[in-house]
Symmetry: D2
Subunit: 249 residues, 4 copies
């Protein structure tokens, strides 16, 4: 099983989360590439630190929207979106190569993640950028999403991900953030969930339904002090249950 | 002899110069990378068009300053400047590889060009970015500049450039843009100059002094209709004088 | 009757259209405020030039999206959009006051114009910003749009506008830009249309239907040389038909 | 005596310092205006909160440089800098007026603060923007600086400020940030210094020299948890010493 987290999401003087702490927890780092967050100096630092630890680096690509942190849906033209994503992937890959490694996968961020899960045009732009960058580049996304379908159809490797600290609906989608059940905050519950995902490929939805989760990676968060502790607990639970942690790529 | 020009210097809806016309004139294209100008869709289009024509692509890297078009000196920290430049080079290289080629050289833009010609710290950042990107990556710059010296010292290939339409001082520097002699606008004079640079490695300065110009590339401009015609005239004069035109890289 | 046009839509070194020529044609200038286009030096210059000519200045407010020129719909949060628009209006008003006048109205730009014509939340944000800025501030928009309804309900003055060079559907909406009938390019036809709008408050739709156009202002464009000539023709036709041209504000 | 602090220096999702805590300490708030930091929603929130507490709002104007947080000197053209500053002041004033008050003063930020202290052209641009915005608008700056001299000459009210937690050189300038004596971190020492500035208009420099500080305002910082506590201590010391705290404006 792989553990992934969003890293490098500060910009200039502004920091978000504890990148160094998270690099000791995860096996894959989704590094922001400068459009919704991230700056070149941070990208370099994280790529070097990830390479030292054997953590795989993926491009966490987003809309060009620093002010909105990539969380506002934007009605991009297909080609413009594809090229904006390609640009971000290539830029990050430069720092990966400097660190003696290379870009291993792509994962869309924020509103692009949500939009590409259901919108064919934006999903197709993500897939086109991935295919332009490298044949069969892995795409990290939600199982069953439109993005997963299109990526598979285009010959990309599709890597399904589950969420350690997000509530699930009976149909496998996430509980919307506006709902009180959106976040799982109990560390025991998080520990139980990640082990169930890793060992039995399933999670219990908010209504008690058992939902299948065919995932190769589990997403943890690190943007608050509490989140880092929760991520550490998730890792410890997996290790304690005998789950082997390694990059999927 | 190589002919180079700055291309792709629009941004979004805004255009600057006639990129397509210039691609039929030059042998090397200095492509803007998104920090002072340039957007991913334009970078892709130009890289593809350049590759079709056998025009070499170099990274025209600049300060992060769209509002100032990279023409305002910024007191960057060394590492921040190096990483901003590395980011730009890697992003452009992604589109080069998509076009079946690769990034062939780097040339600083605007205020960075001028600053790196005399300022050790900024010149060193340009050189560090070039060396980080690829060993011996050619650096296109003014002969005798601090950048030329540091690049040579670091093992980069230094490619000197002359200017078809800029006045020269007796010491080999360019006439400042604020002076009436800054620009050469007569197409006959431009034709004579480029042939003298190519055949005799020299140019006549504003006071009549003959100045040596040990250059492998001549820079032409294309940001006005008149400039495109002047560039065409320069190319025709070189061809007429039997000078072989080809990328230096 | 008022004639309005979008002005100041360059950014830094990039220009779009001939602002000076258009200021001699229109009676109201929709000045870009820096988010989709426009920079402070341009805003100052246009406000001063407009004030000299008795041209009213309105805020052409847009999404924060220079790369997309405000033409991509963005799913803003209500309060964020309201505050982004308020910021733009206040900034432009500073240059108006410097020129001895004040901001006279607001008009949304591009994708915000289209979205606010049908989307209640974004229309409400435009109205909230207008009301925050000044009681009863005129809102320039399409007659019958959701924005027009909400603005009227909030006590803003609603100023309907027609388009000199855009095709109309039988229901009064504009022909989408993707259609071949989207633009009217014949100067004679433009002349006839603006006179019909001004004298009879009507326009002939693409299918021959006569559509009522209860407008106080007609929008002309100036972003191409041909557009400026068309705008001059529209103005001449109105003057020739005895229509008095003056700012609506 | 007035207490001022830099507020609203986040951007979008990123936060810097505890604005609400600082608004209970200071009598004047230097609010970031969107160019080096600050977004419209934050500007609105702080202007409303400041007005409720009787805290005066000033424009903390900076270079257009979010990535560098306004801390990198930029070689602006005079008119461009003046207009960029005017734009920021006017935008913030819009939110002040919404809160029932108005912009009371201007203070340059970061590299602009330092540059305008010694560079005539940039100081003149700050003064021109202030004078354009409102006659006699107070300029908050270091006593004896070039900015103070030019502002006085132009009829602006000059308000000198001292620094609660910065070391002083014998000539009245601040110890550079690169020096170990740059910051005063002892809360007792900070308390003694602010009382000495307020009661005796003097401060003890790093070499023991007593330096005159003709100041009407003392700057405190709030960008770290420790900084907020230090600012609270400074306020308590002044109140304890019988110093009346009120906005200078």
């Amino acid at each position: 099983m792989d553990l992934n987290a969003d890293l490098g999401e500060g910009f200039g003087v502004w920091r978000l989360g504890d990148d160094e702490a998270m690099l000791d927890i995860v096996t894959s780092a989704n590094v922001a590439c400068g459009f919704h967050a991230g700056d070149p100096a941070t990208m370099r630092r994280i790529c070097l630190a990830a390479a030292e630890r054997g953590v795989a680096v993926g491009a966490q690509v987003g809309y060009r929207d620093l002010a909105g942190f990539g969380r506002r849906r934007i009605e991009y033209d297909f080609a413009e979106l594809r090229d904006d994503l390609m640009y971000q992937m290539a830029a990050l890959d430069g720092f990966c190569r400097l660190a003696g490694t290379s870009l291993r996968y792509v994962k869309p961020h924020g509103a692009l993640y949500n939009t590409a899960a259901t919108d064919e045009a934006q999903a197709a732009a993500v897939v086109a950028a991935a295919a332009d960058f490298a044949p069969a580049l892995p795409v990290l996304c939600q199982p069953g999403s439109v993005l997963a379908q299109l990526a598979a159809g285009a010959g990309c490797r599709v890597v399904g991900e589950g969420f350690a600290d997000r509530g699930y609906l009976p149909d496998g989608r996430l509980v919307p953030r506006s709902s009180p059940d959106a976040l799982v905050t109990s560390s025991e519950e998080v520990a139980d969930r990640v082990v169930a995902m890793a060992r039995r490929q399933q999670v219990v939805a908010v209504d008690g339904t058992v939902v299948p989760t065919p995932v190769e990676s589990i997403c943890v968060h690190g943007d608050t002090p509490g989140a880092v502790a929760l991520a550490q607990r998730a890792r410890a639970a997996l290790v304690g249950a005998g789950v082997h942690l390694a990059p999927f790529s």
